[in-house]
Subunit: 595 residues, 2 copies
């Protein structure tokens, strides 16, 4: 690739619509260009990187026996209707009609198509296990496309599915994918963590995410250094607090309602409580002793709405994403004035368990945070304006309809596995492996004959990798102030040769060097632009981020060229006679290293 002819224009200014440094650099270095919100064109250098990510993903999928195929992106409605996702996906799906008025969609993910293909072609347990995958363009009409390729509306994904007759088979397929993903992400060359990704309803290892650790990530995850536990914050399962011992419960005074005027917040409530209604044992009331009851309105995919009350300690907030995960596929929003008007028994700011619960006056389902222990005493709303109830004991004085994992997780919280404190960090979801089970097979009637000639429903795993997203994640993880810094396996070229000055001999020597490097099978970017200053050429080389830069310039008169490592910035002079050998050693000797 010669810069004199390459379809490339590097920019000195950051693009107006980019926020993240990696995104800015991908645009400035001419790797991608925005075509519409969340929709990007891949320019020559960007396409090369994308293809290298694809190749790594393909190799690792082939290595575990994955068979590649390719489904259409434009799909008929019917299969998605059968699994109810036509409805569940809501506005996230791009929908259209063909000229005959048939409903169609742009595939956001292809569980249905894979399931139907296997149903169409296989019929016996002997043909399983089976792993199929595709590397394909997908579409999601994101409400907030973000950060260039990180959350696009048209994007490239690898999705694979495993098909087994037995649960053990599914577990093995899952384990094989997990290993393949570890190899894949090691090769992609960024720091990543594997976290639990669901609430464990299907078992601890049923769903894991591979997150690129990054301060710009949209996902928050927790880690416990002591035990190695790691989970997406949505997936953290806070253990149920053990019951308070009977003696303590017996010593708790009877519940008593008190005037607490003008105390609609936790802070004012705690102040009033300590001032006017001190605890029997003399300990001060704290926010952690108050029980906050938050009411939200759920909207189900079919449009049906339903209120939900969540009781949690007053020193915690409801975590929007954790609640999202709990109520999906429904969505939620906070209760609004009109909602309160429909439930006059709710005293806003003073809502308590007295009216909450399916069997009480509001009829609103009431779920408690698992940290609220049986036998524990609380200060909470008395369902009258300006009044709270004190020493209200769970089990003795009130009950709820169940528990919910919706309270925020905080740095320093204990690990759910009982080990030491959790730390929080942010990550970009790069991969997701998931024991799907029989949900889609049942919806689409995928059965095979087992050893006894009996029809059994197939069990499936679902495994995704964000391929175009990986390009962005690597750019975010590896860039520096000067530009992009590609890991060797993903770089658009192995070497970037810069010819400087006006001396014809320099350009001729550089030409020869480039030819030799290409003969050795290396991919070379050659900055042969005749009238561009060395300063601009060096800046562009740093911006483009090819790992090894060779500068042919004035030193040639002394028989040397400069070889520079883009990442470390280390530079050294090399004799022209040994240059090819040294560059080769550098390129081929390199082993992929994380980060």
């Amino acid at each position: 690739m010669r810069l004199s002819t390459l379809f490339l224009r590097t920019l000195r200014e950051d693009p107006a619509d980019a926020e993240l440094p990696g995104h800015k650099l991908l645009v400035r270095a001419g790797y991608i260009r925005r075509a519409a919100p969340g929709i990007y064109s891949w320019l020559p250098l960007g396409l090369k990187v994308l293809r290298k990510v694809e190749a790594i993903v393909r190799e690792e999928m082939d290595a575990i026996g994955g068979q590649e195929l390719s489904f259409p992106a434009l799909l008929p409605r019917e299969p998605y209707e059968a699994t109810n996702r036509w409805t569940e996906y809501g506005p996230l799906i791009f929908r259209l009609q063909d000229r005959k008025g048939n409903d169609m969609l742009l595939g956001p993910t292809h569980e249905e198509m894979f399931t139907l293909a296997v149903k169409d072609m296989f019929s016996s347990y002997k043909e399983l296990p089976l792993t199929l995958y595709q590397i394909q363009t997908k579409y999601r009409d994101e409400a907030r496309p973000r950060a260039g390729l990180l959350r696009g509306r048209e994007f490239v994904m690898k999705d694979s599915y495993s098909f087994d007759v037995t649960d053990e088979g599914l577990e093995q397929a899952y384990a094989r994918h997990r290993e393949a993903y570890v190899r894949m992400f090691d090769r992609l060359g960024f720091d990543y963590v594997v976290v639990h990704a669901d609430s464990g309803a299907m078992g601890g290892s049923a769903s894991e995410e591979f997150l690129a650790v990054s301060p710009v990530g949209e996902d928050t995850f927790v880690r416990c250094a002591e035990s190695g536990y790691a989970a997406n914050v949505e997936a953290v399962v806070v253990p149920q607090a053990p019951p308070v011992d009977e003696a303590t419960v017996a010593a708790t005074p009877a519940a008593h309602v008190e005037d607490t005027p003008d105390s609609p917040t936790i802070a004012t409530l705690v102040d009033q409580g300590n001032a006017l209604h001190p605890r029997a044992d003399g300990r001060p009331w704290t926010a952690a002793d108050t029980l906050k009851n938050v009411v939200v309105l759920l909207t189900h995919p079919d449009g049906r709405t339903e209120p939900l009350a969540i009781g949690l300690p007053g020193d915690r907030e409801v975590d929007a994403k954790r609640l999202d995960a709990q109520v999906a596929p429904a969505t939620w929003r906070p209760f609004e004035e009109a909602d309160f008007a429909a439930y006059p028994m709710l005293a806003k700011g003073y809502i308590g368990p007295g009216v909450l619960g399916e069997e009480r006056s509001s009829g609103i389902r009431y779920l408690l945070d698992p940290s609220v222990a049986e036998g524990s005493a609380w200060v909470t709303g008395a369902d009258e304006d300006g009044r709270h109830v004190f020493d209200l004991v769970l089990g003795r004085d009130f009950t709820a309809d169940g528990t919910i994992q919706a309270a925020e997780i905080r740095e320093g919280d204990p690990s759910p596995d009982g080990a030491g404190p959790l730390t929080l960090a942010r990550g970009i979801e790069m991969g997701h492996i998931f024991q799907l089970g029989r949900k889609y097979a049942e919806a689409l009637d995928l059965k095979v004959l087992d050893e006894n000639g009996k029809l059994v429903t197939v069990t499936m795993g679902s495994y995704g990798v964000g391929v175009s997203r990986a390009v962005a994640a690597v750019a975010e993880a590896t860039h520096d102030d000067l530009g992009l810094v590609w890991p060797r396996e993903l770089a658009p070229a192995d070497v970037h040769v810069v010819a400087t000055g006006k001396d014809q001999a320099v350009f001729e020597h550089a030409e020869g060097l480039v030819a030799e490097l290409c003969d050795q099978g290396l991919e070379v970017v050659f900055d042969d632009r005749p009238k561009v200053s060395p300063g601009v050429k060096f800046k562009d080389a740093e911006l483009l981020g090819v790992p090894t830069i060779v500068v042919v310039g004035k030193g040639l008169a002394d028989g040397v060229v400069e070889v520079k490592d883009r990442r470390s910035g280390a530079r050294r002079e090399v004799r022209v006679e040994t240059c090819v050998a040294e560059v080769l050693a550098e390129v081929r000797g390199a082993t992929p290293t994380p980060g």
Copy 2:
């Protein structure tokens, strides 16, 4: 690829929705599967063939300096609005709205995006010439998706564009593409012909199509063995017939209207004419002496309609596709009763030049076939029911508004270049190269500074190859009664090894052979299915169409295996010691041959 685990199920029955033999075989052999009308899934073997076509196209594009990039398939409306194609494409475009109500489309072709990308990035003549290409999924909502991959609604295309400042530059880019296409289509291994593809308004070589010669093709083309002239039938320009000499015109009787009751067809008219109104010079009237006037209704992209009358000799029909090409982007349909009602001066079955023409009573534009010579005498409608006019001479007795190339071309017609007779054949459009000129650059304001610092509009070429269509075209061209017969460059594997019988030693030897062949870098399909009969295995091998088949079976006891050539059917016994070497020689010695 082991058939014991490959995601493949061969079918003995033809699929119900397939008409063409190649399409049937692609489905029966498990290469593709229909997902919706005109929309196909690529199964593992099919995807391998598709990727090989892509690789050939990519190599030849790279060889002429093409730079690969990739535009989105989901595109905003605005660029297509600027070139008026949002309207012109009509129902051929898949249209949709995103969640914010923005109009979007699935790209049917990408002239706009390429033009805007160059406008965005380049600004000087020094940066040109430039050739960009992509291999990408495109969408067209065809009214009649046909023949599997031959005319799909989602399909893979290579489209490239050249950008030049001068017309000479464009001609050179066009010539380079033409050479690349010749190499590409030679390698794809089917019989093809390069034909003129437009009416020559932009010069003889401005547009050519590469057609795969095939009786199942949708395109009809003509060839002249004598001169080598070849053209799509839509593109044939029939030369204007020279004027009739003055003496002949002078000797033609004055036009005379005659009663010709019940003669609404050419045949009845000729019979009546010869019986009741013989020609002055005694020669019989023939259909070729009659002038048929056909009226159609044009619909323009903006919805406006307009009638058009076409005058042509009575022994020719209007060719629907030639007329399509002439009136595009408008469409047409025959005049219907309601249309006639709006033009009472048209006597259906007896329409003549007396009322046709922009300056006559109907006001309908009237265009003549170029074979109608100035001074020639005709029998034609007299615009009264049951009456015709005889000896009506063009120029003396009537005029028209111009000529139109819409009459059918027939086997044996003279070649437009003056050489011998034309022959007709059918073909599948596989490639199209086209000197686009400045149309899109003007619409989208793509200008660069020339040597004198003056802004000049760039001139473009547009070049397409049907990549997924090529898979179908090759299947149609190369199959035989037994199954698919892939050319070596496109085959999903180099060798198909069949192990037959129940002898463990046979399977073990076959395993070893497959391993050796793979070590040599060959791609192997291995039929290792333990309980499948030799007959079924042989049939499947023939159906799948891998070029070389090696059968390991009973002969192994005598130290031989059988090597079979799929295309010729030739089989020979080979010593096991030399088997790998012989197979390698066969695979590597093979040079691509057309057909």
